[in-house]
Each structure stands twice: as structure tokens, then as C-alpha cells.
Amino acid sequence: MKRRSFLKGTLAGSAVTVAVGAGLLNPRSVLAAWPESAFSAKSIPDAMSGLFGTADNKTSGAIKIKAPDIAENGAVVPVTVSTSMSGVSAIAIIAEKNGQPLAANFELASNAKGTVSTRIKMGKTMDVIAVVKSGGKLHTTRKNVKVTIGGCGG
């Protein structure tokens, strides 16, 4: 909320528009909370470090990934990550072989449940990796999703 009013109210409207248009004021850099390095990272450890400050993680059986075994269409793959862990402060979804693996991160308040769903783009067959931050530590699991071009249906 504060960030938006900073853009609209504090700076003269036209100056902001020109600055944004000229690429001088990148809205992304003004919204300091958006983790740019994590989203532009090309490796999974870099994505995790950019997001959480570390890539250290442990595999966990308490995280479930619901995603199709064979995706109908790589542009729209429904993914649900759920965990029975308590004290979950974030759930991130990583598409292993995408050029930039980090797809989404959900920061959760203490009263939010450990389940999130969204739909993501996957460029080819790969694992979907879920990262759950709980108790200050990172826990992961993965699930393979096949993505291929369809057949005679076109």
C-alpha cells in the first residue's frame, strides 16, 4: 500500500511517467519487496538463495504436490502444494527446467493454511519442486510432470 502511494502522491505525476517510460524508474526496483534476483536466477540454488537467503534444504515427506502426471498443455499446468507442517511462512513453486526456474512464492501469515494453488507454464517435461519454509528452515519435495505436444487433436 505504502509503495503505491509513494509512486502516485509523493512524486510529481508527469515526472514519474517520463522516468518510468525512459526506463529510469523501473517499477520493479521501487517495489523493493519483489525479489528480482530470485526470479531472474537461472539455477535452482540461486533462485532459493535469492528468495530465502540460503539454498540449504531437506527433502520432506510432509509436502504434497498435486499436478498432472501428463499435462494437457504446458502453458496452463494446475499445481497445488500442501503441507501438514506447522509454522509455514512461505511456499515456493519451482519449475526445474524452465530458463528461470522460480515460478511463484507465497508468503503466508501465521493464520494462513499450508496449501496454495496456482497454474504455471512449463516449457517441457520436468520436475515441479515445492519449497516450504517452516521453522526457519527449507523443506522440499518434487514431482515429475510430462509436457509434450499433443497428437492428432492439433
Binding site: 518510468v20 525479489p35 501469515a109
Partner: protein, 104 residues
């Protein structure tokens, strides 16, 4: 950009499940315009915030790998039918929108 957000919030006791569908191109910046051959600039939602009683319950951070016309769903406790939830988004071009819905 009114009406880009559709919200369905349902209560089950003191738990609320929120489902939202947002109309947004979520362009990766890699797609080429078929006519000109030029790359269509990246245009995607970077943050989606859900608030209940003035408190942020979920703050989603997205990259362009989230699908076009994106969907999200989550749940939280400490709410009931009749409460209001608010969803707002900001994209990489600085555009934004928000919507409110009553929990059913």
C-alpha cells in the same frame, strides 16, 4: 482496469478458502509477435496481496511463469461468513487493480 479480479471466498467454520481468477496477459517477454517478428515485452503480475481486516494474510510473488489469466487459491483461519477479503495486484509495468468480496 476494473473487474480484472474475480474472487470466491467460502467459509467453513472459522476457516476461509479463497479462489481468485485474474485477467492479465502474463507475457514472459519471450513470445514473438506473429506479424512483426518482434518480441512482445514482458508484462506480468509481480505481487498479489490478500488482506483480511487490514492484515495481509497471503502475499504472492509471481514471475512470468505463472499462466496467463492467472489463478490462485489459498486458505486461512480466523474469519467467518460476512467478512470482507481484499485482493490487489501490481505488475511489472506499475499497473495495479484491486477487488473486494464478501465471504459466503
Amino acid at each position: 482496469m476494473a473487474n480484472s479480479i474475480r474472487i470466491r471466498a467460502k467459509a467453513s467454520g472459522s476457516d476461509v478458502t479463497v479462489k481468485a481468477l485474474i485477467t492479465h496477459p502474463m507475457e514472459t517477454g519471450l513470445r514473438k509477435d506473429k506479424k512483426t517478428g518482434n518480441k512482445i515485452p514482458a508484462h506480468y503480475i509481480q505481487e498479489v496481496k490478500c488482506e483480511h481486516k487490514g492484515k495481509t494474510v497471503v502475499n504472492a510473488q509471481w514471475g512470468p511463469a505463472v499462466s496467463k489469466n492467472p489463478y490462485l487459491s489459498f486458505a486461512f483461519s480466523g474469519a467467518k461468513a460476512g467478512d470482507t477479503v481484499k485482493l490487489s495486484w501490481v505488475d511489472n509495468k506499475g499497473k495495479s487493480d484491486s477487488a473486494e468480496a464478501k465471504v459466503k
